[in-house]
């Protein structure tokens, strides 16, 4: 058995709990410690990803208890998202160094890193677990640390934004827990594979339907889809920038991965058919694509703009899930990973600008392209990617989703994909206009200096990854192909 699997979640969590004790009052040590742990996780998840690519999914029985009795960890192709999580977290940690030194009081910095590590461990645990209740526990771990990280920067509305986030998150968590309870009452098991098997013989329809609908709704709230997105913009715009990158690029994706985890539970169930649900998801996703992009058009605050663009992109992914064909699912899967890269690039670059200049609206940031050329370049690459221009990372997801829409004979959704991309292009054009071509609103803008190396480095690296992620699309596509095949074939 490969012990990398449990350790990938176990180590960062323990390390997170030890950070305040070890690095009391020594921010440098806390950061170094967090970096070392994350590097370990990156290595571990890379090894695991390699293995899943070569051999297919594999399991680990915690405490050697066979599956339905104990907790099974299962690393399948979608779990490879953990590698992206680690890489982005690593870069966020590097980036955090200079950022938190200015943005946070010194006494909080070790707690900040502690929460980040717990967040990381929770996310890894969430994507690798094969047990429903364990999924819930890790979800809450991520949630608690995220709520706190949103508010960690202080400021007038930060606590309020975090509270809104908390209420939305907690209500959805309660709903999810309730549905897990229903599934347990129906099957007597919590192991996902076991539940799927036993649901096949459950005859009474309403509870199964209830569990399916409740879980879907709960995870959609977590993912911040349009009608239930109200918590997202504030939480993502007010938090410190490194946290934006984590929550917008990674945390909301857990809602999507949650959906990917629960659908197979019901795939074999005779009592319900997933088709109407997928239909609804496709529509919700399409609405979210347009609504998110539309709201983003009217934002002056650069971070709010990015937050709404997240809603739009989550819409793409949900649309891909809802179309449910092999191509569309491939698109959704690839976009989960690539959007993480893109959004991290955008938020970190925008964060660097705000950090260096002290301004955050498009109007105030005019002319920053000349003061911070490299950061703006990374932002530009990220912007082109999120629009979906080939060959950047944003393209393949939209490409496959559009093809999937045609494949399923619903060209209307393909049009939605393109229109969404177009609207996104408009607001990023606005942004670039402001950065490059407008006369600065503030004289001192031209005197702003480029971000320090430990902030610039991650930003540029992510920018490069945005391009690479597009050029090397065949790699993730090949990786998730078996999982997509299972998902699409299982309907």
């Amino acid at each position: 058995m490969s012990h990398w699997l449990p350790l990938a979640a176990f180590v960062p969590l323990v390390a997170g709990a030890l950070t305040p004790a070890m690095a009391r009052g020594r921010p440098g040590l806390a950061r170094g410690w967090a970096l070392a742990v994350t590097a370990f996780c990156t290595f571990a998840t890379a090894a695991l990803t390699r293995r899943v690519a070569l051999e297919g999914p594999f399991s680990y029985a915690m405490g050697a208890w066979a599956a339905p009795l104990g907790i099974e960890l299962r690393f399948d192709e979608f779990s490879a998202a953990s590698l992206f999580i680690c890489v982005i977290m690593l870069l966020v940690l590097v980036y955090s160094g200079p950022y938190v030194r200015r943005a946070l009081p010194a006494t909080r910095i070790d707690w900040y890193y502690s929460l980040l590590l717990i967040n990381l461990g929770g996310m890894i645990g969430f994507v690798i677990t094969g047990d429903l209740f364990n999924l819930f526990v890790f979800m809450e771990l991520v949630a608690v640390s995220s709520y706190a990280l949103v508010a960690v920067g202080g400021g007038r509305t930060a606590a309020l934004a975090a509270f809104k986030y908390l209420v939305a998150g907690a209500v959805s968590s309660v709903l999810i827990l309730f549905c897990i309870g229903v599934l347990h009452a129906l099957t007597g098991s919590l192991n996902m594979a076991d539940v799927a098997r036993r649901l096949a013989t459950v005859e009474s329809r309403p509870p199964v339907l209830l569990a399916l609908a409740g879980l879907t709704a709960g995870f959609l709230v977590k993912a911040g889809l349009f009608p239930v997105h109200v918590w997202l913009p504030d939480a993502h715009a007010i938090a410190p920038s490194p946290i934006n990158a984590v929550s917008s690029a990674l945390v909301v994706k857990l809602g999507i991965i949650g959906l990917l985890r629960i659908f197979p539970l019901f795939a074999a169930a005779g009592a319900v058919s997933l088709a109407p649900l997928f239909e609804a998801l496709a529509w919700l996703g399409a609405i979210s694509v347009l609504a998110g992009a539309f709201f983003a058009l009217f934002q002056e605050d650069i971070k709010l703009m990015l937050a709404y663009s997240t809603i739009s992109n989550i819409g793409y992914i949900v649309l891909g899930l809802g179309l449910a064909g092999e191509l569309a699912l491939t698109g959704a899967g690839v976009h989960i990973l690539n959007h993480a890269l893109i959004k991290a690039t955008l938020f970190l670059a925008a964060g660097a600008m705000i950090h260096q200049s002290g301004h955050r609206t498009l109007h105030d940031l005019r002319g920053i392209g000349r003061a911070m050329p490299w950061t703006t370049l990374a932002l530009l690459i990220g912007a082109l990617s999120i629009v979906g221009l080939p060959p950047t990372a944003g393209f393949p997801g939209k490409w496959y989703i559009a093809l999937g829409a045609l494949e399923s004979g619903r060209p209307g959704f393909a049009v939605v994909v393109l229109v969404g991309a177009l609207i996104i292009f408009i607001y990023f054009a606005r942004m670039l206009n402001a950065f490059y071509f407008r006369a600065p609103s503030h004289k001192e803008m031209l005197g702003v200096s480029e971000a320090p190396a430990s902030m610039l480095g991650p930003v540029l690296l992510l920018g490069a990854l945005c391009v690479l992620g597009g050029l090397l699309t065949h790699w993730p596509v090949a990786l998730i192909a078996p999982a997509v095949g299972r998902l699409a074939g299982g309907e």
Binding site: F133, V137, E140, A143, V144, Y147, A148, A151, R156, T157, A159, L160, A162, F163, L166, V167, A170, V171, V174, L177, F178, G181, H184, A185, L190
Partner: protein, 116 residues
């Protein structure tokens, strides 16, 4: 309807859940919302604990010579965990509430919207 009467316990917990939900969405005071959230949580806990109940059963503490039937231990273990999670969220929410009050001087959601 017969089914619902047979599962009157579950129906009651759904009722509690909805009362909690009502408090969360309809009440403006943040502390009140939080209490509503706790009501929802306990309702779900009660639901899960009840699903582990068995007729004439006793606690699943099975020393030598104990005779069944026993309630299922699994939901109990889950809910012990769940309660701890709930209190964690409550604690965090309360400290956020204190912060909000310190900064804005009110805890009413509608007034906070104006204060933003």
């Amino acid at each position: 309807m017969d089914d619902l009467w047979g599962n009157i316990d579950y129906a009651a917990f759904v009722g509690l859940f909805c009362i909690g939900l009502y408090v969360v969405v309809a009440k403006q005071n943040l502390i009140k919302k939080l209490l509503g959230l706790n009501i929802m949580e306990t309702a779900v806990f009660a639901f899960i604990v009840t699903s582990g109940m068995v007729d004439g059963g006793t606690a699943p503490i099975i020393g030598p010579g104990a005779t069944g039937p026993f309630a299922s231990p699994l939901p109990h273990a889950l809910i012990v965990t769940g309660i701890v999670v709930a209190v964690s969220i409550t604690a965090l929410a309360l400290s956020l509430i204190v912060e909000i009050y310190r900064q804005c001087g009110t805890l009413e959601a509608d007034e906070l919207k104006g204060a933003e």
